[in-house]
Amino acid sequence: MSYPPDEQPLGRAFDARLHLLDRQILDVDGVPVCTVDDIELHGVDGAEVVDGSRPVVVTSLLSGAVLATRIFGGRPPPSRWRRIRWAHVADVGTAVRLGVRGEQLDVTWPERWVRDHIIFRIPGGSHDPG
């Protein structure tokens, strides 16, 4: 069975699972931040939309502890997701590039906590080895 080709939209088109999910997210300095584990969608007015009556846009990239749910099924509760607002995204390619530094994002707080509370207390851990 063949279907007619889609009317080509004006903007760049890509498929979420194919071109966005599981991609590495790099900050403005090229430092890896996390991967895209899921995507949050809202109506253009910010409202929750669950039908085609209103346009829906991507508002945030989500990252979180998804290893267990990918193995055993289910989904993490909404409170467990760390969000990176789409407003921070600068480019979508083989990796997703941000226009901000990773340190400014909530998603990197465990890394910062380990650095400040554990690594910092190790002798020699409070300064750059260079």
Binding site: M1, S2, Y3, P4, P5, D6, E7, Q8, P9, L10, G11, R12, A13, F14, D15, A16, R17, L18, H19, L20, L21, D38, I39, E40, L41, H42, V44, E48, V49, V50, D51, G52, P55, V56, V57, V58, T59, L62, R75, P78, R85, W86, A87, H88, V89, A90, D91, V92, G93, T94, G99
Partner: protein, 114 residues
Amino acid sequence: MILGDLLDSPVRDADGSALGYVVDVRLVLDGPVDGLLAAPRLHGVLVSPRTGTSFLGYERTGVDAPALLARWFAWRHRGTFLVHWEDVQAVTEDAVILRPGHRRYAAGLLRVGA
């Protein structure tokens, strides 16, 4: 709405007949400008009548090598189609319901974004 709630969901017609599964969603960078880029607008959902999974998008990108794999995936995903978001009547916990008289389009992604 989380994308994961949509992916792999069964798709049904307005009269309840099964049409397949959501294997992916198509986004277009033509939403309102949000920061450095336009926000990706949900353009439509890709429905495979046979399986809820997709492998490397063989059925959408026109990749034809290795030939054996390409033919296998093209066959496995035959009949995959795109439905515009406007033709989605409801997204429930159990299924994605399409409007009566919804239009189906070829799933091919002519301009690959990445």
